[in-house]
């Protein structure tokens, strides 16, 4: 069964450093998302991406964040200058055609900013 994959599983970085989180969505999916989950808190939407552009972003997704789909398979989230409060589990998700409403999630990347 196809699945969303994410790398790395755990990333430790120093405050102020740039990180890139990588995702490979399910191959025939058209919609891509990033969510994050701070430990003990709810899952929060960051950004959605369709047709090679951002379709919506949340207040969390400020100028320090960017997304890219550099080729036909990868979908990346970049944080330019990490802050302590960026420490969280970051989930990538994808969904398929117009009438497929459920999103399929990857296993997540745990980002620890020190």
């Amino acid at each position: 069964e196809p699945e969303v994959t994410q790398t790395p599983s755990h990333q430790v970085t120093q405050m102020g450093q740039e990180v890139i989180l990588r995702c490979v969505p399910i191959s025939n999916h058209l919609y891509f998302y990033w969510y994050r989950q701070i430990l003990g808190q709810k899952v929060e939407f960051l950004v959605s991406f369709y047709n090679n552009e951002i379709s919506e972003k949340s207040e969390i997704f400020d100028d320090q964040f960017s997304v890219e789909r550099p080729d036909g398979s990868n979908f990346t989230l970049k944080i330019r200058s990490t802050k302590l409060e960026d420490s969280a589990m970051y989930f990538c998700a994808s969904s398929g055609q117009v009438k497929t409403y459920e999103q399929y999630f990857g296993p997540g990347t745990r980002l620890t900013v020190t």
Binding site: F91, Y101, Q103
Partner: protein, 117 residues
């Protein structure tokens, strides 16, 4: 504002007993509702959805959920719980305020289900 509430932080049931994990929602218009499960150190796995049609929807691993429009609820149920069902369960609603390709999910806080042998 659209929101999802899961009123119980934790639910404890004995193996073999029926389980219910509660979810209520607040949206404008007709909701698209989802249940996901998260096992320790794993991602979010889709369990089931309600889009339209029968109010009782069946999903993976023997779970089902009942959509109740008058009570704005979408409770997750299983007739006979297994120890392996112990996990974190999230209810989510699709953002339907915006048209087009925006499909973000709005999440509840999650309910930890513990099934005791």
């Amino acid at each position: 504002a659209q929101s999802v509430a899961q009123p119980e932080d934790q639910v404890n049931v004995a193996e073999g007993n029926p389980l219910t994990v509660k979810c209520t929602y607040s949206v404008s218009g007709n909701p698209y509702l989802f249940w996901y499960v998260q096992y320790p150190n794993r991602g979010l796995q889709f369990l089931l959805k309600y889009i339209t049609g029968d109010n009782l929807v069946k999903g993976s691993y023997g779970f089902e959920a009942e959509f109740n429009k008058s009570q704005t609820s979408f409770h997750l149920k299983k007739p006979s719980a297994l120890v392996s069902d112990s996990a974190l369960y999230f209810c989510a609603v699709r953002d339907i305020l915006n048209a087009g390709n925006n499909r973000k999910l709005i999440w509840g806080l999650g309910t930890s289900l513990a099934v005791n042998p």
